[in-house]
């Protein structure tokens, strides 16, 4: 079983649209045995919006703990205030001479718990979202929903990925495609861990190129083999040139270019991958070519 992770560094490069198109293409050509999909972008989980999944299994996700003060026990001594490096302990807005912990600010370190002389503070484990196994027309999808504003420590990403992997192994599905999150921290690191191939969707803009370099360095650090595809390629030809030079210098293959095409967001509005809705568009042709190249790279790995 192989894992392909699709990443971009910068958001909005078209990663999810291309991932959805790959899912569609894998279901009609190549990759015998189908695919399992994992949406690792848990705080902006969008893959399900193009794949119309039917939920088959829903599981609560419990993350870290936050501190809570029992107002009946607190004597307002203030010992908990200086030990909190996150400025989360405040005066209770509702009760005089009591302290209160702002859950938005609390980091869950428990320093206050140990400082409190009356044991008024306890750590309360938080439900931070859900994860799902769903059926789609193109394969089983593992995805999640992180409640807004919660810590994205990578644990939920790891859970989604591991369940996708175990499912694939159990059902002898040869390929897991992972739609990765933007950025370069925890969730991204978790999304790339153990991947056999990382496809970077690069955008030829100054910002896109800047972020490409950062995601590339991150993947390099975690030793994920990488290839690049350029999306919205015709928007800035100089940028394409710069991406190609960067790829050459780092010995990374550029697998193809997908043109800037309003049909891609349009098909998304209709809730279908572009390759299914507009199979003959220039972008669909380019994505199909890209998929075939990726598939030939993945198989012998």
């Amino acid at each position: 079983m192989k894992q392909l992770v699709i990443l971009s560094g910068k958001g909005g490069t078209g990663k999810t649209s291309i991932c959805a198109a790959f899912a569609h293409l894998a279901s009609i050509e190549g990759s015998q045995g189908g695919i399992v999909l994992a949406d690792a972008d848990v705080d902006a989980a969008n893959l399900r919006l193009v794949l119309s999944p039917v939920e088959a299994e829903t599981t609560e996700f419990w993350g870290g703990s936050l501190a809570e003060i029992d107002p009946d026990v607190c004597i307002g001594c203030g010992e908990c205030v200086p030990v909190c490096r996150y400025y989360a302990v405040l005066d209770d807005p509702q009760r005089l001479n009591k302290k209160w912990i702002d859950p938005v600010a609390c980091d869950g370190c428990a320093a206050c718990v140990y400082a409190c002389p009356t044991s008024a503070i306890r750590m309360v484990v938080q439900q931070e979202g859900f994860w799902f196994r769903s059926d789609t027309a193109y394969g089983t999808l593992f995805h999640a929903e992180l409640f807004p504003g919660r810590e994205n420590s990578g644990k939920l990403v790891t859970l989604v990925k591991q369940n996708a992997r175990l499912w694939a192994e159990e059902h002898q599905v040869p390929l897991v495609i992972i739609d990765g999150p933007p950025g370069i921290v925890c969730p991204v690191i978790s999304a790339c861990a153990g991947a056999d191939l990382g496809l970077i969707i690069a955008e030829p803009s100054l910002a896109g190129i800047h972020d490409l370099k950062r995601i590339q360095a991150t993947m390099q650090h975690f030793r994920v083999p990488q290839v690049i595809a350029i999306n919205k390629a015709d928007i800035y030809p100089d940028g394409v040139q710069q991406i190609r030079e960067f790829a050459d210098k780092n010995n990374i293959q550029v697998l193809g270019e997908v043109p800037f095409d309003p049909l891609i967001p349009h098909s998304m509005l209709l809730g279908l991958p572009v390759t299914e809705k507009f199979p003959d568009s220039d972008s669909s042709r380019a994505i199909r070519h890209l998929w075939q190249t990726v598939a030939t790279l993945i198989e012998p790995l």
């Binding site: 560094g9 958001g11 902006a44 490096r85 370190c109 807004p148 925890c186 919205k232």
Partner: protein, 287 residues
């Protein structure tokens, strides 16, 4: 007077948040003292549009424990109190795992032998200076392979800004998790930049959840609009989110932005829109 703090956020990445934030800064800088903070420390891009010259650079650090072996009795208290498993008792040593450490200080205070001192562990760089258009600019760049973004955002926001600053503009990271919350903390207004697509709408919903919980007044900017996308407009009405600006989907804008131009450089007439936008923000933020 405390400057008004405006955070520009989006949930979904690539909606044009930086384009809006930089254009807003450029427009307002003509009339007000502006400070711009690029809080997208994983992929800071504002400098590509505003071309700042930096005159100060400091390290962003997490204070991690160092254990004095001569004092440590291997009692294991520090391992027990650490919620993040950044410490382990291994044979005759206490091992520190810097990348797991949040720098909370709990181990330091709880060590009965006072055997722990804290040493700075660099996780990135904070730089500040002036944008080419002569307003204050600061950003943070997280070191590659560091797993946490919030500590550096927190430190970036604590950097000094010029005392005469009237408006500070914060460009938030994409997503809707802890790093966005850290950016929004203390903001008077959140400008939510969205795209008229199901993706944009879904992620706007995530952002709405955050601003509601944090009680921050917010408004929406619809970017790359291509005719009315009714579900988005209905959502905004239902959640009392004023639509404050609508920017059309145009190839010319996309091409300009790709080359490093801001919206107001591509279409100078937007300057007035942003000035008006600020007047509305000032009203909404004070309600």
């Amino acid at each position: 007077m405390k400057p008004i703090q405006i955070a520009v956020a989006s949930g979904k990445g690539g909606t044009g948040k930086t384009t809006i934030a930089t254009s807003l800064a450029l427009s307002l800088a003509e009339k007000y003292h502006v400070a711009y903070l690029d809080c997208d420390v994983e992929a800071p891009n504002g400098h590509l549009f505003l071309h700042p010259e930096f005159n100060t650079s400091t390290e962003a650090v997490i204070r991690i424990p160092r254990i004095d072996k001569n004092r440590c009795t291997l009692c294991g208290k520090c391992v027990e109190v650490c919620q993040f498993h950044a410490l382990a008792k291994v044979g005759k040593t206490i091992m520190v795992f810097p990348q797991l450490c949040h720098g909370c200080g709990s181990c330091t205070w709880n060590c009965p032998e006072h055997a722990i001192e804290e040493i700075p562990n660099p996780i990135g760089v904070l730089e500040s200076g002036k944008a080419r258009q002569d307003f204050h600019y600061a950003h943070g760049t997280l070191t590659i392979s560091e797993p946490m973004a919030t500590p550096i955002i927190r430190q970036l926001k604590r950097l000094e800004i010029p005392p005469q600053t009237a408006i500070s503009i914060l460009d938030a990271p994409p997503g809707a998790s802890c790093s966005v919350v850290e950016t929004l903390r203390g903001s008077d207004f959140a400008l939510l930049v969205t795209e008229p697509t199901p993706f944009g709408l879904h992620d706007l919903g995530q952002m709405q959840g955050i601003v509601e919980e944090m009680r921050i007044p917010a408004g929406v900017i619809i970017n790359r609009e291509n005719g009315d996308y009714l579900p988005l407009l209905e959502y905004c009405t239902k959640h009392h989110l004023p639509v404050m600006l609508r920017v059309p989907f145009e190839r010319r804008i996309a091409e300009g932005v790709a080359r490093g131009q801001t919206l107001v450089e591509i279409y100078p007439e937007y300057r007035q829109c942003f000035l008006d936008l600020f007047d509305s923000i000032a009203v909404l933020a004070n309600q």
